[in-house]
């Protein structure tokens, strides 16, 4: 018999960004390493690791496309590769979870590499890039000097990019959430939308449209509730919206705007890069808060002080009244929900569901995330099953026809996962029943689909 003494969860081992084309000569290998975490590691190791990754990518490339190198598993690590722009590679190396066990009175480490879901962590890696691009734009755009130009200029640009990556990732990796709790929503980059009555939605939507139409500089306008749920997503594509969402949550609340709305930052509004109509362009992001509403305005040119004042005078009163009505509606809804499902205990064995629209990346779920109030999410192995079942939504994966699927999976513990997919939507129901038959599971899943799928249409019930 072996006994688990200690379990060490998944941790970040290293993360690096490189571009092989930046070092053409021997002896200049350090130049291709644009960023390496942990920074305190000696340069030799950095160059070595990058070299190894280059080798792996090249090696894989002999069998398939170069781009197809996605993950590498070793006993102790899982390495994930991502090439967002030609030549630029991001590599995330994770220490796999391990369990220290006592076997015949000897302490043995057992590595649980199988518990690491490639797909989830590759999506985490992808988001590392997306967040950088959202705030700094594409990397290639920084290296404008071509080969023929002076070496000195190229070197300056390289150093500048490297510095920028350092500034960004040193901070970003620190804020990395507990890696072990990354889940399917991190993988699919889906967001929650606020459920609103149609009249009030239309009001909010038209308010955003009118802001954009009244002030010529405003390109788009996004409205969030409690910085969390999307009310109006404007014309942002799903991945930019996800990045914005993540960005907003990291923005400090600022002074309480009180009864009036207020801009969070007026002096130096942040610049962000959006992919509008397949063209990545910079915008100034103005964040305006009024009660529970956060309004994100994307502006073409650096705004003047008068612009803020005009905007504030125009939006303030309208937004406050809208915010009040939305808050009323939300409280009404939550009250109704509580009355409806008062006995809905959030234990790990109660049925869970997750619905995702692949087109809008809108999700609807009752799975608690990131352990708020210690509420147990679903077991890791079940999450891995869902991650394996899920159809990844890569930015370039625009299928012309939606697939239809229906699957039922029984996990080794008493969990069942029922997946359905149709019309660009994925639906998962997670049940925990020890002695359930296929028929029971089918019926229970059907019941949950019918109960919860109220706004989306699932004609294949």
């Amino acid at each position: 018999m072996s006994q688990v003494l200690q379990r060490v969860e998944i941790t970040l081992r290293s993360f690096y960004v490189f571009n092989s084309s930046l070092s053409q000569k021997e002896g200049e290998e350090r130049k291709k390493v644009l960023y390496y975490y942990p920074t305190e590691v000696v340069e030799y190791t950095k160059i070595n690791d990058v070299g190894l990754s280059e080798g792996i990518i090249k090696f894989i490339g002999t069998f398939t496309n170069e781009d197809d190198c996605k993950a590498l598993h070793t006993q102790k690590t899982t390495q994930l590769f991502y090439q967002p722009e030609p030549g630029f590679w991001l590599v995330l190396v994770l220490n796999v979870p391990k369990e220290l066990k006592l076997k015949d009175r000897i302490e043995v480490a057992e590595y649980r590499g199988g518990e690491v879901s490639d797909r989830i962590y590759r999506a985490v890696l992808r988001q590392c890039y997306q967040m950088y691009r959202f705030q700094h734009g594409p990397m290639q755009a920084r290296l404008t000097a071509n080969l023929a130009e002076e070496n000195q200029q190229r070197e300056q640009q390289r150093e500048k990019l490297s510095l920028e990556l350092h500034q960004f990732y040193d901070k970003y990796l620190l804020s990395f959430r507990d890696l072990a709790s990354c889940d399917i929503m991190d993988m699919l980059h889906s967001i929650q939308y606020l459920a609103l009555e149609k009249r009030i939605f239309l009001r909010a939507h038209n308010f955003c449209k009118l802001c954009g139409d009244t002030f010529a500089g405003i390109r788009d306008c996004i409205m969030l509730y409690n910085q969390e749920q999307i009310i109006c997503g404007g014309k942002l594509n799903a991945s930019d919206l996800y990045s914005l969402h993540a960005y907003i949550q990291a923005v400090p609340k600022g002074a309480d705007p009180g009864e009036d709305g207020a801009f969070v930052e007026k002096v130096t509004p942040p610049r962000v890069f959006l992919d509008l109509d397949n063209c990545i362009a910079p915008f100034y992001l103005l964040i305006y808060r009024a009660l529970n509403i956060t309004l994100c305005l994307f502006v073409d040119v650096a705004p003047q002080p008068e612009f803020y004042e005009e905007l504030h005078a125009y939006m303030g009163p309208q937004l406050i009244s809208l915010a009040r009505d939305i808050a009323d509606e939300v409280s009404k809804r939550t009250a109704a929900n509580l009355g409806e499902s008062g006995s809905n205990d959030a234990s790990s064995t109660s049925p869970k569901y997750l619905f995702i629209n692949e087109q809008s990346l809108k999700h609807h779920t009752n799975i608690f995330r990131h352990g708020k109030n210690n509420q147990k999410s679903i077991p890791r192995n079940v999450m891995s099953i869902i991650a394996d079942l899920a159809n990844p939504i890569e930015e370039n994966c625009t299928q012309t026809t939606p697939a239809t699927e229906e699957l039922q999976v029984k996990a080794t513990n008493d969990f069942w996962v029922v997946k359905r997919r149709c019309n660009w939507r994925q639906y998962y129901v997670i049940l925990c029943k020890s002695k359930a038959t296929l028929l029971d599971v089918t019926q229970e899943a059907k019941r949950i689909f019918e109960q919860e799928l109220t706004d989306d249409v699932f004609f294949d019930k």
């Binding site: 009249r199 239309l202 449209k209 997503g233 019309n423 019930k461």
Partner: protein, 640 residues
Amino acid sequence: MDKPNGIHYIELANNFIRFDAASQLTKVFFDDTNKQIFAVRSGGATGVVVKGPAEDAVITFCMSDRGGDIHSIKFSPDNQILAVQRVENAVEFVCFQGDQPQLQDIITHQVKTLIYGFVWVHNRELALISNTGVEVFQILPEKRQVRSVKALSISIKWFAWSGDANVALLCTTEGNTLVPVLVKQKVITKLPKVNLGNPAREVEESKVTLGRVYGVLAVFILQSNSTTGMMEVEVHLLNGPGLAPQKCHVLRLSLVGRFAINTVDNLIVVHHQATATSLLFDIALTGELIDEVTYHAPITPGRSIKPFGLKLPSLLPDGHIMQCELYSTNWVLFQPNIVIDAKLGCMWYLNLCIEPLCNLISDRLRLTEFLLQRSSGKQMQLKVVQQLMDEQYKGTLLPVLETIFDKINKIYASWVHLTLQNQTALPSNVKSPTNKQATPPIVLIEQSDMVQVFQSIAERPHMETVLMLYLQSLNKYNIAAQEELSKMIISELIRNRSFDTLRRLVSYSMLLESKPIACFLLSHSDVNSAISQVAIDMLGKMQAYEIIIEVMLGQGRVIDALRLAKNSLGTDKVQARKFLEAAYKSQDDLIFHSVYRFFQMRNLRMYETLNFPKAEQCTEFIQHYNNTFPADNAVKLPKS
């Protein structure tokens, strides 16, 4: 004419009536109930010409001058009895056959009182108003009799009559009160008196006008403001309980002098002789509210009536044009909108010139409120909306447009709900006791009208916002978007790549859900797969499974289609041939095999054999199956 001071909002209509001008020989009378003008030559002996109300309605006859100047002359509504008053205490009745008088059968009716006037209330009934009261008489031409039917005793100083409301306003001798009296066939009803505020207040006959605005009888009383001395018009509307008159509005004229009042298209027109201008008031517009009385200023500063050129017979080819004197001392005004110049021999109707007026009202919201109450307001209103959407405003007027949409749709909604009520309240087999057709609003701007306006400016910047604002306004008043509007919104959203908005509108069912709309969406699905998703969502909501199945078959998703067909239509109703053909065309043996086996199993269950019934015409596919999977139907692994 287009100079700023050349803008005129009131004109004399072109369908005017000419008559013999008043002179020593000719006397002119006007009956404002029948709108007939009488030109009486030599007391009738040398002819009476009756014209009106239409330009070409003329009656000509002669009658003997029976002595005494004619005081008043009026036809019964059917033009068959002519009532003539020549003395203070008698009225003569001349019966007509066709349009010629039966002069031998004149009935003379004599009373002991002083007759102020008479009005016809029915083809054979006439009300006499005299110093002692109101009496309704029935005329029986066959018996040559006049019989009293109803009488109301009340001592009267003077009276005013409104023909279209059948109401006489009596000024009583005792107490100096103004009492409206409803006089109908065989009935006289006394209504509550007009509240003049001060019991000692005396009102002169010349200061009172009876008119009708927005379907309600109104008593207009001219009087001067006690503090400023400027003239005002008190408007007492007979809309209280039991038609009690209530002082509801005061029109501030800010002028002194002589005034006359007309009503045109529910507007109150106050003519001022001294300045030769006419002021317009609309009591439906907002004003200053003091003690439940609304004080109105003129809609725009006063302007004169449009000059009128009268073409005179002349030897010159173009004729001679004479400019008529406006606001002449010879003018007499009658309700609602009649102007008579007896010296000139002209009778005009006043008309509202709505287009120049629109240029004078700069506040677009007030203009909208104004236009929505005018009978000719619809086209102008649509024009105003179109102007506001013009590119020159760069979207700055969108909030104004939002409010205008609400005003338009408020009326539209009340009409939609009214017609809906009428349709649902009465089952077709039950005859409704009140066969009253609901009257549509003065200006009804429906979706189809708006769609036309939108179409004229499609694909401009801000168009999406305009449409969304209109949709929001419709939604506010619970009106569903119809096909044309829905299509337009879809096109605009697709053009601007606002797929998220499209998705949400469909999920909220804010666009019309119909097969044509869903197919319209499908036809754009090559632009973005989001559209295809939305189209199928809509079909799903309508449970239009047949179309979804066709779409899936078109995409080559035979198994998905079959699955849906089985779930939605039931296994028995799935057509084997259609699916086998699609599976065959997919050139995928696995698919073909699966579909074929599915139908074999179905055959087994339904017909207790694996074979297909002949009627399903599947021979070629049976052949294909047997060729592809030989060896007595054993399952063979597909090649690809």
